[in-house]
Every structure is written in C-alpha cells, then in structure tokens.
Amino acid sequence: MVSTLGQSAETSAGPGPALEVRGLTKNYSVGRIGRQKVVRALSELDLSVEKGEVLALVGESGSGKTTFARTVAFLERPTRGEILVGGQALPRHPSTHRLREHRREVQMIFQDPYSSLDPLHSVRYSVTRPLRSFGLVPRSAEREAVEELLDQVGLVPAVNFLRRYPHELSGGQRQRVGIARALAAQPNLILADEPTSMLDVSIRLTIMNLLLDLQRNRSLSLVFITHDLGAANYMSDRIAIMYAGRVQEIGPASEVMSEPKHPYTQLLRRAAPSPENERQQETSFEAKGDPPDLTSLPPGCPFAPRCPFVQSRCQERLPELRQVAVAHRVRCVLYE
C-alpha cells in the first residue's frame, strides 16, 4: 500500500535551499536587574542547507549549535537576522497561522530520549498529535498512519508499541518514537540536536543509519548537530564547525576531515580519540585557555586566545569567511 506519508510535501516547498539563515543573531540577558550581562549565543550567522542534504553542525558546548536549532525551530525568537525556509522568509513576529506553517515544515529531534516524550502519554498519543494539529490525516485514518510511521522507524510490530508508555521503552526505542513524531508532520527540514549522544554506543549507529535511510527515502534536509567528529563525518555531506556563535569553517565532509584548515578544526581533530594513531606521546597537547566566555568576547577572532598560530592582527578584527576551495570556506587570517 502506497503511503501518503512517504513524500515530504514538495509542492509547497519553494525554490532555493531548504533552509537559509542570514545574519542570524541571538542574544540572551542573564543576571539580575542592574547586573545584567548579554550572552551572545549566535552572531551574524550565515548558513544554508540544500534540499536533500545532510549538514553536520559541529561544536562544543557553548558554540551555539543548540541555540541555532532552537532559533530555527522558532522555540526562541531571533534577536536579528532572517530565516528562510524553502525560500520563504519567516517574519520576526509571525502570525499563528504563519508559525504553524513553519512548524509543519521544520521539525526537531531532541537530545535526551528520557525527557523528550511526555511520560504520561502513550506512544500512540505522542505520534498522533502532529497528525492532528496539522490536520494531515482524517481522524479515521490516524491509527493506520501512526502504525505506518512506527513501522518506518523500526518499531515493529507497530501495533505492540501503540499502547506503550515511555518508561516501558529503552533509550533507543524512545528516540525512534521521537523520530516518528518529527516525521509525522511531514517536514522538509529536520533539526536533529545531538540525537545519539545520550544513547549507548551500540545503539547510536542504528539510529544514525535510520536517520540516513529516512532522509534518503524522503529527500529530507537534515541538520545533524553533534560534538562528535566521527559521527559528523559518518552522517553528513557537508560539515560546519561552530565556535563562539559563529561558523569558522564549512565544507564537504571528507575535505574538512582530511584537511582541516581552521586551527580550531585541527584542534578538534587532534583532540578526538582515534585509536588509529599510535599513542600521542610526542606532541604535548597544548590546549591552553578555556572555552570562550560568551558574555565578554574579545574583539577580533574569538579563538585567538587559544590558537597556536595567533598573530597580532587576529585580535584586531574578525576575519570573514573566505573561499579556500570549491564549496569550502574558512574564517581565519591565515587564509586571507
């Protein structure tokens, strides 16, 4: 039986990339009145995701990658900048109707399988709600649609899972339910915020493979957010490296991994565990300094305090993202 859920609604997707953000900025105020500080979580971010592409967003905590997902999913209002989905710009204060359209097209998968499902509701309820709130399927066909979604995410036989509650499921199974819920909306773009980092190692690959299969079958665009370079390399076509709320390097996955240009990317590459290397006794790993303080970023390049190649001009002004190869751009004075 041909599933009506199999196709993402390509008819409503406009021309242009699946997602484009321009100058996206998000600031938070923290602290009490009188002693407030501004956390610059995202600064002037320019990024695009093509239709059917998997983009990995790599960064450590505080890099802005989760803020990016939350802002694009409109869980938070951006401070400045534009978000365009399928070529259509999302207004800064969207009407309820417009926001709902946006939500239908952009879905999110959350990191923690243990708190991303309401413990008081069954699997059936959680996967049915998007179908109902977007009016995608007539009531009488809801159950069948849910069963099919559960099938597609590998929860088989689906009918056994309908009545289960989250606490009766393993972490991997819960994450599959979360994926089914996101797919139920028939989105064009999925933002996956570290979907495997809280799962057991042997389960991670099965979930990653599931995401890849679903993405290919439905020509979905996927933003895969992670701090794990290995996972990023496995999943994505392109990798964007984030640091202190900005993109520092972006390019085809194989290139960024084999020839990282930005000193921070090189640092990440060296820091990641890789048993292929012999024990790194020779190079004393000098990672001086701490992750950046987003409330008081230095002028110029935010990575300068920790960069082994720092020059005086690094602290004068922020370098632009410059092209260094086909589709490969880096933000560093070394390449200007």
Partner: protein
C-alpha cells in the same frame, strides 16, 4: 609484593531479598599493578560501575558482594570495617565519579572542601593542607588562584580537574575514574587525560579507567577489559586488543565508532539489546546478538575462559579446545 589491586572471581548482586534479584557482576577477575592504567569498557548495564564501587570499597546495600574477593595490597577489602575503609579512602584508594564536577559543594569554597577532606585524614594544619593542595593544583594544571574560589566560578573542565585534584591530594596509590570526561568537551577531555598520564608517570599510582568509549581506552590504557552483562568477556593489552579483537562483542563494539577519516562506509551497530540481568539466558549472554554464534553450544553452555599468550584471555566458545576440534 602483592599487586596493587586484585579482584578474584567477584560476584555482586542487587536486591533486598536472598538470593538477590539482579546479578550485576559475575565472577570477575582483574589485577592492577602500580603505575598501570587498566581500562574497563562496556555499555550501560554491563556492571562496570558496580565493579568499580566494590573494588574501591564503596558498595552500599542493596548491592552486596556474594562471592569472591577484592584485595588491595594483599588486604581483603570485604573483611574491613566501615571505619577502616574510611581510612583507606582518599589516602590510599580514591574514586572520581561521572559528572562529578557537580559533586563539589556549591556553597563552600574549594579550599574549605580540601581542608575538610584532608583534616579527616590527619592533615590538621591549614598551612600544610594549603601547600599540598596547591602543589596538586599545579600537577593537574589549575591556576592556584582558583583555590579560594567557589565552584561555580570555575568552568566545567576546571571543576573536573578540581575534583581530580581532590582525589589525588593525599597521594593515593589506586585511583578509579568512572567516565571522568564524558560530560566534557573533547578538547578539555584530551588535556585532562594527558595530565592524568603525566601524573601517573610522576607519582606512580595505578588507575582503573571506566568508560564506554573504547577508542579512548585504546589510546591511553595499558590493558583493557571488556565487560558485557556483568562478566569480563575479553582482556588484553590495549594495542593487541585493537589490532586483533577476539571476542565478537569487542569487534562489534569497536566498529560502533565511525572513524574520523578514510573512505566512508556504512557501519552496522549491534542488533538487539543487552539481556535483562534478572533473567539471563542459558549459555553465553551475548549469544542472541552474536554474529558468530554456534547454535547448540553458545545458547546452552556457558563459555569457558580461554587464555591466549601475552596476557590475553577471552570468554568465548570460539576459542575453546572443543571449538578447535570441531572447526
């Protein structure tokens, strides 16, 4: 000279009734020598944390040692009283728990927490305590000025280093680390691991490093023990384990880490789920998920411990003598 730590056929159960409902650790044997880093790798529920708690003398009810022994420098820890164990802790045996940067008391300055810990072990003079603590701070590369600060004034990485400093300030001989860097960024993780390596060369303590990240262990450990469903299924020197894994679970586990470079290939995880510890299947606990399972043997008879040259052992039918005959 007895080894630093000797775990012998240790079996640990959880539960208030007898016999306990869950056997978390089954017949585990492991030895740690001074100056050695032994890694224990496994996924959640394999028993590695329970094993570490018992080996550090920190196992509380409803966990109970059912059989076997844990000896520290020849002394059986299970025979010691609570106060004797307390004397050992921090001064001889120390443990750093997962995400323990949250273990620091948020309303006490770091120096006061050090004072408390050290005073409990006889270092009463606060000057002496300060001197020793600041030396330790230097060793773990924390700027001395943080000694007088509150925990929230340090970053996550610094806090974790502070906890490690607290764990080694009295220069214990045996250090347990349970996922000490999982909650940290990969860059911070790398520098902390490097510091630990330098420290154990300088101070000569033995380290038991528990993690799910086997690729990390291959880089830093001398020997690695792989645990599954409460038992050690393989133990080998780190490099040998990486180059020639014997147990099918080890092979499968290592292939779960996508490589950072090289040609992009599809990898498969391990199908199925770990067994329910209350209801272990007959025979080998990995049989239902094993790509090399021998029907009629693996699902009926428990696998033997087979020793292979060079300090290796594996718990698997594939390497037993009978299998050699058949195969």
């Amino acid at each position: 000279m007895p080894p630093l730590l000797e775990i012998s056929e240790l079996t640990i159960g959880y539960g208030w009734q007898l016999p306990p409902s869950v056997i978390a650790v089954r017949g585990v044997s492991l030895t740690v020598a001074a100056g050695e880093i032994v890694g224990i790798a496994g996924e959640s529920g394999c028993g590695k944390t329970t094993l570490a708690l018992a080996a550090a003398g920190l196992l509380d009810p409803p966990g109970r040692v059912l059989s076997g022994s844990v000896s520290y420098l020849g002394t059986d820890l299970t025979s010691l009283s609570a106060s004797e164990l307390r004397h050992l802790h921090l001064a001889e045996i120390s443990m750093v728990f997962q995400a323990s940067m949250n273990v620091l008391n948020p309303i006490m300055r770091i120096r006061d927490q050090f004072h408390d810990a050290m005073a409990a072990h006889g270092v009463r003079s606060s000057d002496e305590a300060r001197r020793q603590a600041e030396e330790t701070f230097d060793l773990v590369k924390i700027p001395r000025r943080f000694f007088d600060a509150y925990p929230h004034q340090l970053s996550g990485g610094m806090r974790q280093r502070a906890v490690i400093a607290l764990a080694i300030v009295l220069r214990p001989k045996l250090l347990f680390l349970d996922e000490p860097t999982t909650a940290l960024d990969v860059v911070v993780q790398r520098s902390i691991l490097q510091s630990l390596d330098e420290l154990r060369h300088q101070l000569g303590f033995g380290i038991v490093f528990i993690t799910h990240d086997i690729s990390l262990l291959v880089e830093i450990a001398d020997r690695i023990a792989i645990m599954y469903a409460g038992a050690v299924v393989e133990e080998a020197p780190a490099r040998a384990l990486y180059e020639e894994p014997l147990h099918p679970y080890t092979t499968a586990l290592m292939s779960c880490f996508p490589p950072l470079g090289g040609p992009r290939q599809r990898l498969e995880g391990i199908p199925g789920q770990p067994p329910d510890l209350r209801n272990l299947p007959k025979g080998c606990s990995f049989a239902t998920r094993c790509p090399k399972v021998i029907a009629g043997t693996c699902d009926v008879v428990e696998p033997p411990t087979v020793r292979r040259g060079g300090a290796r052992r594996v718990l698997c039918h594939l390497y037993s003598e009978q299998a050699a005959d058949v195969g």
